[in-house]
Each structure stands twice: as C-alpha cells, then as structure tokens.
C-alpha cells in the first residue's frame, strides 16, 4: 500500500456567524487514491472544499499539501500548486466557445511551466484537453458557445479546466449531480482514467452507488463534524452513518 501522504487536513474549522459549517475536521489523503466525502445536505462538504482550496479562510486548523502548509493562501496560489477543483454548479465561461474555456487556465503560471515551450499554441493544447475529457474532436461541439452545451459536457469542461493545470489533486464537487444515468456512465470511466494516470481524486458526492465503485476510502460529515471514515463497506455498515442518512428508525 502506498502510504505517501499528499494532503493532510488537521482540525479544520469554519463558522459563518453562529453556524459551525466545518468543525474540527481532520483527514489524510494518500497519493493516487480516490477519496470520497459524503454527508447529508448542509453537512459542510462544500465549505470544507472551499476552505481547502482557499476560497474561504478557515478559522482554525491546517491544510498541508505535500508537506507545505497552504492554510489561508489565495485560491490562485493553491491552484498553482496543483490542487484543481470543480464547482457544484458547473461554472464554465458561458459566452466563450467550449474550446476557449481551458485556454483561460492555460494562462496561469503553473500551466505555462507544465505545458508550453512556446507561445501561441494554447488553442491546440485546449483542443487536446477537450478530447481527453471526451469531446469529439472532429465535430462542431468544441466550437459551440459553452452556454449552449448539454449539462454533461459542462461537467467535462470543468474537468478540462482542471486538467489544464496538470494537477496532482482534483477535488470534484458533486460531479454527477444533475446528470442522467447515461451521462454518469460515460463520465465514470473518465474519472477512472484520470485516477489511473496518477491524479489523486477527492470527490464530494451524493450518488453513493457510483462513488462507492470508485472510492477506496470515504469520509462522512454531519453538521460539519466527521462521523466516520473507512472503506465504503465499513462506512455503510456504520450505525452512526445510517442514522445521519436515514434518521434513527432504521428499517
């Protein structure tokens, strides 16, 4: 078992007013694994991600990425270190053609370092990235305005935006939400492929069945507190988790 740590979160807390959105959460993610974060609505999953990626400053606690303390750094620096993220509601640049979407992250200093020897072929790199996430290269799809694409493509576009950073970690925020079963089935192999290529995936998810097929370990949050962590089968068997999801009356 490869036990090399890539991300370590220690006692992270964030409250908004009197509400403790994230309350002393600690966990460790190993390099190359798929780590799931689940929990009922409002359990602080997205806030946790926002705190890790710098969009929200934590009140307490530490985030350590490859041995470096990244707590409270601005989002672009954290992204620049190789932690890419998607958003819960896909947020592509709607008015740009699809293939121009990954061009934006190609302007970051990280992408400059990782990708391009010379100036001017960003469009080609962007088209390659789109192909990698499943856009048909020879069709018109990559050239349509992002706002006109179906939802499944928007999620792929989000992933392409992440890949443009050549990330070591991708944090997906409900990448399956709002997708049809067919679309989910087509994105699953893509995520597996990314993971095989060495990218560590941290996935927030509501669709447990799909997540459990991918994830090696899962953490469960409730009201901002970690209530369980382990392999999917361990977590499913956990009484505390059943309570959180289904209330105290278990059938």
């Amino acid at each position: 078992m490869s036990s090399q740590l890539i991300l370590e979160v220690i006692g992270l807390s964030k409250s908004f007013g009197g509400v403790k959105a994230v309350d002393g959460v600690s966990f460790k993610v190993r390099k190359g694994e798929v780590f799931g974060i689940i929990g009922p609505n409002g359990s602080g999953k997205t806030t946790l991600i926002n705190t890790i990626t710098g969009f929200v400053k934590p009140d307490k606690g530490k985030v350590i990425f490859k041995g470096v303390d990244i707590t409270g750094k601005p989002p672009h620096e954290i992204a620049g270190m190789g932690i890419a993220r998607t958003f819960q509601t896909a947020r592509p640049f709607l008015r740009l053609p699809a293939y121009k979407n990954p061009v934006v992250p190609l302007y970051s200093s990280r992408a400059r370092k990782m990708f391009l020897g010379r100036y001017g072929d960003r469009d080609h790199v962007a088209l390659d990235l789109l192909e990698e996430v499943g856009f048909e290269r020879d069709s018109l799809t990559p050239y349509k305005p992002a706002g006109t694409l179906p939802h499944g493509y928007l999620k792929r576009l989000e992933l392409a935006r992440c890949l443009a950073l050549k990330p070591e970690v991708i944090i997906t925020d409900e990448v399956f939400s709002g997708l049809s079963a067919a679309e989910v089935a087509s994105i699953m192999p893509l995520l597996e492929k990314l993971n095989m290529s060495g990218i560590t995936l941290i996935m927030i998810e509501h669709r447990l069945r799909e997540l459990f097929r991918l994830a090696e370990r899962v953490m469960v949050l409730e009201y901002g507190v970690k209530i369980a962590e382990g392999t999917p089968s361990e977590v499913v068997g956990n009484e505390r988790v059943k309570e959180a999801y289904m209330g105290t009356e278990v059938m």
Binding site: T53, F55, P74, P75, H76, E77, A79, G80, A84, R85, F87, R91, P92, F93, L94, R95, L96, K100, V103, V104, P105, Y107, S108, S109, R110, A111, R122, R161, A164, L165
Partner: protein
C-alpha cells in the same frame, strides 16, 4: 416576362454570413467593402473634417468630442471586458493632465515628451491607487473611483500645491511657432489619431486576443478563474492600466492645448459625460461610446445659443435618445445595416 427577369429581395449579408454568427466567407471586394465600410467610412470622415473646415471653432468641437470619446471608450472597456464599473474618468484625466502640466511647468520639458510621460505616469499612478480596491465589485469600486478626483482637487485647494486654486498657468503650447492652419491640424490630428488608435486597439484586445479572453472570463465567472490558478487582481490591474492610458493621454493633451492645468481638470464632467455618451451610443461595443461622444458634445455646443436653458434641452435630448434607442445608436445602426437588402435575379 422571361423567367430570368424575375427579381426578389435578398439581404446583402446573407451570402456573406454562413451559419454561425461569426464565420464569414469573403467572396469579393464588394463583400469586403460591405464588411469594412462601417469601420473605414467614419474614420475617413473624421480625418477629413479638419482639412475641409479649418476653422478654430469646428476643430475645437472635434477635439472636445475626441477627448470625451477617449474617456467613454475607457469606461466601456472596463465595464464590458472585466466588469469593473469605473466612474474614474476624471481621475485618469486629471492625473494625466497634472503630470504633464507639472513636468512642463517645473522642469521645462518639451510638450512632446511630457504628453507620453503624462500618459504613462498618470495611468501608472491611477493603477497603483486603485490596486487595493480591485477586489471590490460593482458599486463599491465605482464609488472609490469617484472619490479620488474629489480627493485630489480638495488636497490641491487646501494645501495650494501645484498652483493651488489658480492652477499652473503658462504651460507651453504644443504648437508654438507653427503658422495658422498647421497649428490647428497638428492639434486636431494628434487627438484624432489617438482616438482612432484607441478605438481599434481596445476593440482588438476585447474581441480577438487571449488577454481579452481572460478578462472576459473574469467578468463571466471570477471564481472559476481563481480556481484556474490565475491572479485575477493582476489582470484587473492590467485592464485598468490599459483603460487609463487613453484617458491620461487626453488629460495631458488638453493641458498642452489650453496651456493650463487647474482644478477643473478633476471635474466630475469627465466622469459623467463619458457614461452618458456610452449609454447614448450603445455600450459594449467601444465604437458606440465614441459615436455617442460625437453626438453629445456637438449637441452641447449647439445648445449654447439657448443660454441657461441649454441644460434643460440637453437633458431632454438625453432622455429622448435613451427612450427612442434604448439599445444604443450603434446597435440600432448595425442591425439596420445588416438588414439592408438588394434585388437579385431569381
């Protein structure tokens, strides 16, 4: 009637535009003229006016329109490329004016050096001043840009630095020693070429470059740009600097045009008038605000005959423009232009 003589109407742009909105097929010089005409014709008109009518009054009206046009394009660029609402026309203008003016007044530097210096230094100071405010959005950024010119004019008024309330009088003219029509032409063509350069450069940055792309993405969705590892404050600062350049140039230019720089260079007119021009002309097009300036400034001049009633007439005209052409004149014109029809044989 023979079949070949049956004619029907067809839109001129039909054969030129193919499927998608921005793909064109250039077939002939005629179609190229159809596309380039709306760009070339106004530019040529503007260039010819000072030659045809070399009267001081006409040329001064053209110059005043150009100055407001440069400020209006700056407003439009910031609003529609990065989504910053800037009321800072007077800030950029005043900084350019005072920089060029003081350089000439205190150090006797040649106007043709102080103008570019005023442009660069003015824009750089403005960018540095606004740098801490760039994370602010919407109305907050607008307020800060509005306050700075007031702040500067009050400081100069209170401490009497830089000429105090009288301003710096006796700044060197940019056309000293030139015979009559030439001095006018130098003044006119300097600002006209600067205006056209600004127009085409800003449009190019906005529509065709990857810088424009990143700026546009920030306007669309700044969170995703941050998540893309891009420091958006840096890019916003770059946009402010680009937009401040023409405005500061206008300030430096006016200083050497009237050989004076004073408190009225911080006047709110330079912030508000460009916005009115943008609304009248059609926002988001860069060309629209310029057109708007060339309507509003001559209109204001024409209304001088009416004495103090002119402001009332001016306001009425503004309302009329906004009610009749809410989309902006340029958008209306361009729609009509694309709907032009011609007779073709069936």
């Amino acid at each position: 009637m023979a079949l070949s003589e049956v004619k029907r109407k067809e839109r001129i742009d039909r054969p030129i535009k193919v499927h998608s909105d921005d793909m064109y097929v250039l077939a002939s010089f005629k179609t190229m003229l159809y596309l380039a005409g709306p760009r070339i014709f106004p530019a040529l008109t503007l260039l010819i006016i000072p030659l045809l009518v070399p009267s001081v009054y006409t040329v001064r009206v053209v110059i005043a329109s150009c100055v407001i046009a440069m400020l209006a394009m700056n407003f439009d660029f910031l609003l529609h490329s990065v989504g910053l609402v800037s009321l800072g026309g007077a800030l950029f203008f005043g900084l350019g004016a005072y920089t060029a003016g003081s350089l000439n007044y205190y150090y006797g530097i040649n106007p043709y050096i102080t103008m570019p210096m005023g442009t660069l230094i003015g824009a750089a100071i403005a960018t540095l001043l606004l740098l801490p405010c760039l994370p602010l959005r919407g109305i907050y950024f607008a307020l800060v840009t509005l306050i700075f010119p007031l702040f500067f004019s009050k400081i100069i008024e209170a401490t009497l630095i830089l000429g105090g309330t009288d301003g710096l009088i006796g700044i060197k003219s940019m056309v000293e020693g030139f015979p009559h029509p030439f001095d006018l032409w130098i003044e006119a063509y300097l600002i006209i070429s600067a205006t056209l350069l600004t127009l085409f450069t800003l449009r190019r940055i906005y529509r065709c470059t990857d810088l424009g792309l990143v700026l546009n993405a920030i306007k669309d969705n700044d969170q995703a740009v941050k998540a893309s590892g891009i420091n958006i404050t840096l890019y916003k600062a770059l946009a402010v600097f680009i937009a401040a350049l023409p405005s500061s140039f206008a300030g430096a230019y006016v200083t050497h045009l009237y050989n004076w720089v004073g408190l009225s260079h911080w006047s709110l007119d330079y912030s508000i008038l460009p916005i009115a021009a943008s609304v009248v002309g059609g926002m988001g097009t860069i060309a629209g605000p310029m057109l708007g300036s060339f309507i509003l400034v001559p209109l204001a001049e024409y209304l001088r005959e009416f004495g103090s009633l002119r402001v009332a007439f001016y306001a009425m005209a503004l309302v009329a423009f906004i009610v009749l052409w809410p989309e902006g004149i340029i958008n209306w014109l361009s729609r009509k232009y694309h709907q032009l029809e011609r007779w073709v044989k069936v």
